[in-house]
Symmetry: C2
Subunit: 337 residues, 2 copies
């Protein structure tokens, strides 16, 4: 099978120089019409397609950005990925994807500048690796972190103010008249920083309400439906009494609702449930799930913007942003009448 057609082949076919072909392709202003036609004819005839590799070599850029997130199938990240692909597209970039599965080793690989491969930069949503290590492993390539806020001010970051979000979610439960609250999702596994922030927000709201005796916070392995369901069963089996559940994310909340139903507890009559993320499932769950909306499109858009900024100006000053959020009250936290 014939090898790839190159610029040079086209030049030979059209009896012109490589440069002229290049000029036509990149439609350089000063190209005579006759030249354009001759070259285009040759391109057509040979079925030539510019090969990105060659272009990249010259420019030193590939237009590719690496996106490293824990799990593409998890709705929050799936929605984030969707937004990121779209945002990258708008910016004329493409995404190379990596999945860390919340494994430290995989996150290390992702953070390691060794593994950038062809990408011009990295957008990384870390889970278990800590900031210092990310900082240590990053090369000189552009890096944008996604997710929780961080003490690190040397890196561009599109953050989530988990304390404020959790506080608002918990306060909503309290406002709806719930007072015996539990939280699902704590710091035992996963990103220690995230969960402690979410837990902090939870406790903060309880204290503001004068509930100094905090409800239990259950540990989960991952933030999945299974874990949410299991947590509820453990609480019930331990005879914990509660009328409100704050879940560290919507997936846990959906799992929790599923287990509550299995144990014949009615949501929201017996127990109110609220999550975080506002994934689409929540709108169609039964009952519909109250949650904290997080603007994933904004996150993706800003992440791409920050990356582009670094690409343009490697010495730009890092920004730390905080994503917009708001309460979305649905059936799962309706007041018991």
């Amino acid at each position: 099978m014939g090898r790839q057609v190159t610029l040079e082949d086209v030049a030979a076919e059209a009896n012109v120089s490589k440069s002229s072909v290049s000029n036509v392709i990149r439609n350089h202003p000063n190209v005579r019409e006759s030249m354009r036609q001759r070259v285009n004819a040759a391109i057509e005839k040979l079925g030539y397609r510019p090969q990105a590799i060659g272009q990249n070599l010259v420019s030193g850029r590939t237009g590719l950005v690496s996106l490293a997130i824990p799990n593409f199938a998890q709705p929050y990240f799936a929605e984030l990925a969707r937004a990121a692909v779209a945002a990258a597209d708008d910016a004329g970039m493409r995404l190379i994807v990596q999945q860390t599965d919340n494994l430290l080793e995989r996150e290390r690989e992702a953070a390691d500048s060794w593994n950038l491969g062809a990408a011009d930069g990295l957008i990384f949503s870390p889970s278990v690796i800590d900031d210092e290590e990310i900082e240590a492993r990053r090369g000189r390539a552009p890096l944008v972190l996604l997710g929780e806020r961080s003490k690190l001010s040397s890196v561009d970051r599109v953050g989530i103010d988990s304390v404020a979000i959790s506080h608002a979610a918990t306060k909503h439960l309290l406002d709806q008249g719930r007072s015996r609250l539990v939280m699902i999702g704590d710091k035992t596994f996963g990103d220690p920083f995230v969960v402690s922030e979410r837990e902090a927000g939870f406790h903060l709201a309880l204290e503001e309400a004068g509930l100094h005796e905090a409800g239990p916070v259950t540990a989960v392995r991952d933030w999945t439906r299974e874990d949410g369901a299991r947590s509820i069963e453990e609480l019930i089996d331990a005879n914990v009494e509660f009328d409100g559940v704050f879940c560290a994310n919507d997936l846990l909340a959906l799992g929790a609702m599923s287990a509550l139903r299995r144990r014949n507890l009615k949501v929201p009559e017996d127990v109110a449930v609220i999550g975080i993320d506002d994934i689409e499932d929540g709108q169609f769950a039964s009952p519909t799930l109250s949650t904290m909306f997080i603007d994933k499109e904004w996150m993706a858009h800003e992440a791409i913007r920050l990356l582009a900024k670094q690409l343009t100006d490697p010495d730009s000053i890092p920004e730390q942003l905080s994503v917009p959020f708001r309460l979305v009250a649905r059936e799962s936290t309706a007041s018991p009448r």
Copy 2:
């Protein structure tokens, strides 16, 4: 800021030739220990990282594969993407992602060999574009199609036997004692081939059961929860009587269940619902959703295998595979007692 460190810089630092540095990096067998150490020291000192672009240029390969699917946020595709990323990783490849949003124009771009960019090949799950056009637009680059079966035998394809799957799903509803069936999801929008296959399976099962008078099949714009919900409301508003709903995918089914609940119809007591895909949500829906399991990991794995095969042998004979599936009966189709 200092530019990228190159192989040549390392060679200069270590006082050896570029070739030797290259040998050490690619750990060529015949390299003396002293050489290895000297070079590694220099690499360490300069913080050198091989730049993929250079390697690619020589090999003509980037190790990147493009994955084009409609929507990363849609659970079926999210799960497929997750599996694909993992499978690519196992094969030492990485994925560049594209999202077509079921738009013909975007699918054309994806299919167009122009847009392969740095990728060595393309794994494409088409939705609205037809086979002939894909065939016409593909260059010589490796291509693997995902999704429905096709008449095209000139392309590797990991197919879904939609007729058989829909037939099995519909038969399950009938087996559970339902007889007034409707189907949600038809050929008006989206991939004409897919839906007509799914519809064909539906009708086939009805005819086998002697129900020659087929139930209505509602058209949907996309295959989303919203569309599933709207379809149910339209059916009810049109006073259609039914005790079983076959949905072309799980998302439609989840939307349908949500609307049924809103209209005070009990699932499965009043109406049984079944979907296709076995997305994770279904297990935690209320009631849990019966569905047809489709092995997405197998699909992803085979797709990568086929792509690798084409990369190895460009003249290999195209294969058309059919993904394994099976019925997963859950609460939503339990028999009314």
